[in-house]
Point group: D2
């Protein structure tokens, strides 16, 4: 097995902005009415705990907010908040708040009939901008009454989704989007300028061109968006076979450079320099049938991503928390390459644990002492913690040496997720790939989806403790090394326990 | 690593009576009022599921059934079923029924003041046998009203506990015990002869002598007990250090021979030949501070025990399901050598999984095809399942060959509990042996107390499938090998998923 | 207050077939994925407990079972059971089994584009009958694998819904429906003739004509349906104002006569005489905005219905258990005249208690001793129980005299639901009719939606106990009168408790 | 029915310190290990929510904190926090914090053998004061580690319980108690002077004498206690019959005068003037078999108490939240005159609702506008709320007139608890007084233990709204009157709903 060395001094400092728990993506909001969705979200919130949740379809017909009716020969508008209240009640109960993506278009308000997805979200501009902004403001006002003003003004707002793709915005009409942004932005700020409004939520096609044009437009109009938003996926164009998409991963450094270029464009505008950038979606594959999502490789690749996404971005929202998702129809099988961290039946995928580990790391401390392309390590007053990963390389043993303030015994804890210890996809495959597993099969697969917890005692010498940690191919390991305070009860001798029999 | 071979033919047959889930032991009944106790029992019942539960203290003062009071210068008796109803309600809700051990003595009914344990169970004969049998029959009548006659007559009854030890029965007075047995037995049978009544519940001292004398007494009195009960512990006399007891394990074959000798004695009486023997308690160490209870060695040793206890005994009840237990006082620390399969905070000990595996095996099938002192294997119409163990030997690889009815792919599932994969005691030690772990520490230790689930596909040739299974030192492995029915969804290719990126 | 007398002798007998808990209706099956739906159903099952559940939309596109795709220039079919498994798993977990209504048409299998409802169920015949029956049989086969053959063959089957209405079946084409019935019936019986298949599920328009024609068709084709199904609503054509429908109730006797006429038609066919009739839907108003549903009047009117529906029908399924329902769009407000027994937030409507009382009555006994148009009374070995109601009349006191087998004290228990004691609609109105009540308002309204429990002691004389029970306007009262066994504890004197202070 | 008038002006002000939710009493701490106890407490906390909980037995042997052992011929001390951690973990999980009553004496630390209660709490001074204070400080230090310093210093401390009664403190030795107080007080303050320490926790016998002597002692020693504590029961000496105590209620004004006299004594000391007084226990009867506790009269009497207890006392702790209590043995029956607000099986007694209403009133507002000996009314910006009661008088109708800032419709909500609407004791009696009710009986009795919720609309004129509220004998009514904002949905007309059928 290969071996590598890392040596950490207490005074070392490395760049690392860990905002892993800021936001997470979701299937369309209407799905938040379902039980399976809420069970998966409850599990994600219990174990990881995100602050915000962002998804499409707030104004789509299944949420049923906007209604026109005729009365005395006149067309009138009324709103129905039955479902959106139920959805947001559920979110807040799970300690997550909406990141309001304004879209898509209610059928009665649409200027056209173009829809996207199996669930037919209308993606045309409003037939009348005044009715659109009235609907937005009426919703915000309703939310303030229900949830309190102090709460609701903290909910970030983003105008539409991926208008640079013609499927998401009729003809990908840039001018029309800028109009939508301006009308919406100005209406909201006029209503209550404490709301934070961002855009243009673009994705993958002509990014630089759109960002630049958007900022010029804003400058011309005297508008200062609160956030610049874009998406970030990291695979090549997929090969479709049957229901499934097979994609090659892109080079990580190339993708990080792409993020830097957005940062550079924004900062090149005097008025917008330093504006926060929010990756309102990111993942590896950008399709809900992207088979890579369910693999240990995905978990390892994302470990590297999560170590660097905060460098030039304020936040980044993984698309999505769970597998309840219908953009390409109802999933055909348990493991179907869904976007989720969690598969149906609350089976955590390996990638779930990458996020869990980063959250644990954030709770441990935010004082980074070491970072390279295979590891990140922080410290706090009790010791060190870190994440190690191995992206598709042979198994490797890391020899780590930590500088400490006092000699003694240290507890090394490890949580290991790799193809051997935590590989639900393999167990499912070995079972024959049951599309609709029974409760018993689900329980079995779930039992194979947990990290392996290990521990040992490291004795430091010369104020340095040395430990070895193995990261197998496509493995991710979380570890902590903290002072051990031995408090054996009277008469208890662990060595004797093990040897006396 | 050493290697061994096992070859299993479908027509092979081996002796194996798996009654693992018949009964389990408990700390004194009064403890069943506590929340921690009920949480532990709920977990045990959810995961394993025993039919009966047996413990001391039914008539002890903390359960508060028996009361004398003065009225008009007369001593009268009244009963209070508030607590025993609450306890039995809780049991039945958890799908477990009482195995009624009649004891110890209410203070007001006792002939003396001798007590046993920290919780002071009175262990003297009744001052008046009529009042004792009245109390017993009144209880049975009350139970019938509350739980229904059909239910209550299935609750087995045992008269007293370990009367051959002077601590448990004043002066270990054999004649007095026989009197107690006779009076109780006759009163119950007179009340309702469907109740099954057994004894003498002896333990470890002069066993053969007591059993023989007991049976002679019964013969003389014309009494036929429904069950013969005794206890079965398998360690030498312990060394006490501080709060803890260190014991050497006894030779398994010697202990099995001891069980056979009881069987032989019973069968030597014409009238009692074939009477069921029930081990109303068994474990390794017989003290609630027996440090071995918490180890992987205990789990492996018991795997062997469970493969053989059914040979000459009808049932056998592990002492005890959980660590809520006060005989030597309140536990001082998380791991304190308690009898339980489960430690406080619902941390399953390695031994828990041995029982869980035997229950899984029973559910899989009861048709035994192979048994030696390191393995037991059964089959059903879908394939084979078995348990392998390794008691304190070097790591070993078992090569198993299974005869099958058709060639094809087979799914091998393994659940491994050993010092590497499932060792909560070690993690707790490495943490510094916290006596009162925080919720976070408990969660961490619990995460290190789960079996490692593995799987693979075995392709059979010539109607034989060959698999290898590693059993490490003090490890216990459950496995199943069943026909794999592949149902890949359209376009899903697992090999391509893993290789395409 | 008016007074009436009822005198009950133990040997009296009255006709009364109480099958209240056989089946209940539901909004379209796809809604069973939602959390609110499952919470409401869980409450209904916990409190009442129905055996079966019947709703539309099994094959509609939101459940997503049927899919065609192109491969090598050929059109192929595949099925997706992800959602229907989740739905039926949830039902079985709640101890309720599907009553399989086969419909509506998957978009890809439809011969036309006509849809019904806000949720757009396609109501045209299949484009190819073979593909329809293949889909049906494939589903039954899948269900057998998942839930076991013994379970699934107990699930009743009904072919389509209300084909006599052109909205539900293209042009209400009778011949086409008979074809659908025949093809489906024959395919299922050929697959497994233990399945029970019924029809024609007609409603309110030309009923007699359809039933007669259907039976003639069956006779001609040599088909014997297992069940004859029809619907039963009891209001006149509603007046629509805004979102709401106001309807007059029809005369009960006239409606019962209508049920008798169906019975008579069926029995007039020699081959079909005595075939069970199932009212696969019934309620007062037939619209999901029928304001009467939420009133105490509805509860009282249904009390009379439930006393008589079993006279000529095997079963009768209230449409629907809860208010999660989208046929006319998403409900606009808490109380919106929805079909449900339960309003959103698990607020039981008065009608819920009518069903609860009939279930309690069924559990008490099925030996009816008295029935008129305002009362039904049964007895068991412990005493009597009954339901009294008052439909829109002035308050009345019923004087009841019960013949008993021994004199002594009897406990009279009453549960009263009327406009004073249990009127959530009024509290909601008095609160201002909040469309989207807060959690606090919901809790308050729920607290006003419980029956008032009362009790008293009746002392019998001459083996007769007399009690008075008040039924206020639109009230429903459940009562039981059972032998009181007094078991006061030593020293407890209730009269003294009340008077000594 | 009698009638009375109350007229409330918005500018009126009345004295009323509502600290109802500050603290509640409990059976001995060891009982907090039991499931029934925790279920009752969870219900109380969910519905009412107290800040602190105070009970005896922290240092008693069943909690098992203090242990002496011999080592090398020396007596050493060790502590065991297994149980107290479990208890306090449970409290904090239920959002209630310990009010630390320091007592009773561990057997090994006691100077004598006198015990009190069925559960045998040792009530003798320590054999060595240093060991006592060491134990106290070690516990506080342990608690700080486990729960955090910031949390633990907010837990109030009281030294011992009722030392003026010889059963609770050997010979009621005043000098010895003062020594205990001083040693304990000084040790705690030396350890961390942020802890708040109070005493002397006296009860009913020579109160004035003890308080005065205690304060003189403190003055002499230069000690300033943080709180003065005493108890407050309001019945005459009971008559015991069998298991039960019957007592006459004392005159309320006389009891309030007694509280005032303690206030006066404290304020007569210059150094201690204004020191907070805490009634560390109060109730009507002071025995756990006091039959009055379960009655509606108790609820009404306490309504008056709760309106006045805050006048001269900082806080007051009802003895006790639930019926899990063993001072006079295990309860013999469901209703046994236990101290609890809640009976076994979470049946709220009428008194529970008195506390619930005062908590609702506190949440509504603390701005008192009216108070007499039968009512208390507060207002907030939305309107008025109040509590009315009727202590053993004939039914009465209160006519209330409220001054308002604007005319319009107002919603009157009432929650009524009286012998007709909410009288579980009566239903239990009518059932025959079952000592150990079945689950079904418990559910029935619980259904008869809920307030009746009513509502109506009051239209104001001349900025005055008039409403009538009936308070029946031994009834307590909570009401609120708030502005009604009518938001009927389009087409919904409540009057039409009721009249159209």
């Amino acid at each position: 097995m290969a071996a590598e060395k890392i040596c950490v001094k207490a005074q070392d400092r490395a760049n690392f902005n860990n905002n892993v728990d800021y936001c997470v993506g979701t299937g369309r909001l209407g799905l938040a009415l379902t039980e399976e969705y809420l069970k998966e979200l409850a599990y994600v919130q219990e174990m990881i705990g995100f602050s915000c949740i962002r998804g499409h379809g707030l104004f789509s017909d299944d949420v049923s907010i906007y209604h026109e009716y005729e009365e005395n020969g006149e067309t009138k508008v009324e709103y129905n908040y039955t479902y959106i209240d139920r959805i947001f009640d559920a979110y807040l109960k799970l300690n997550i708040r909406p990141y309001l993506e304004l879209g898509f278009m209610p059928g009665q308000l649409a200027s056209g009939t173009q829809t996207i997805f199996y669930w037919k979200g209308n993606t045309t501009p409003p037939k009348e901008y005044k009715k659109w902004t009235d609907m937005v403001i009426a919703l915000l006002a309703h939310l303030k009454v229900r949830y309190g003003e102090a709460e609701v003004i903290t909910w970030p707002i983003e105008v539409w989704n991926e208008p640079n793709l013609p499927g998401f915005w009729y003809k990908a009409d840039m001018e029309e989007y800028f109009k939508l942004f301006k009308e919406t932005f100005l209406a909201i700020k006029a209503y209550d300028d404490r709301f934070q409004v961002g855009g243009p939520a673009i994705c993958g096609v002509k990014d630089a061109e759109w960002i630049e044009a958007f900022l010029k437009f804003c400058r011309k109009e005297g508008i200062k968006p609160d956030t610049i938003t874009r998406h970030h996926y990291t695979v090549e164009f997929p090969e479709r076979i049957g229901h499934y998409d097979y994609s090659k991963l892109e080079d990580q450094e190339m993708r990080f450079a792409n993020l830097q270029s957005t940062r550079d464009i924004v900062d090149s505008f005097e008025e917008f320099k330093g504006l926060p950038i929010f990756l309102s979606e990111f993942s590896t594959s950008y399709t809900p049938r992207g088979v890579i999502h369910d693999t240990n490789l995905n978990a390892a690749y994302l470990a590297r991503q999560l170590s660097g996404l905060g460098d030039v971005n304020y936040g980044y929202s993984y698309w999505t928390f769970g597998d309840v998702f219908e953009e390409q129809g109802v999933p055909n099988s348990l493991f179907h390459g869904g976007f989720g961290m969690v598969a149906h039946g609350n089976i955590p995928k390996p990638t779930f644990w990458t996020f869990y580990f980063y959250k644990q790391l954030k709770l441990f401390g935010q004082d980074c002492v070491y970072r390279d392309d295979k590891a990140v390590i922080v410290k706090n007053e009790k010791g060190y913690a870190g994440i190690l990963w191995n992206i598709d390389e042979e198994d490797v043993t890391r020899e780590l040496a930590f500088e400490l303030t006092e000699d003694g015994e240290y507890t090394l804890l490890t949580k290991t997720v790799d193809e051997t210890t935590c590989n639900p996809l393999k167990v499912w495959h070995d079972l024959g790939e049951p599309a609709y597993p029974t409760a018993e099969e689900t329980e079995l697969i779930r039992s194979a989806a947990q990290p392996l917890t290990g521990s040992s005692i490291a004795k430091s010498e010369d104020k340095t403790a040395k430990v070895s940690i193995v990261t197998r191919r496509n493995g991710v390991v979380y570890f902590s090394l903290t002072k051990r305070k031995a408090t054996p009860d009277r008469g208890y001798d662990y060595e004797k326990v093990l040897s006396f029999h």
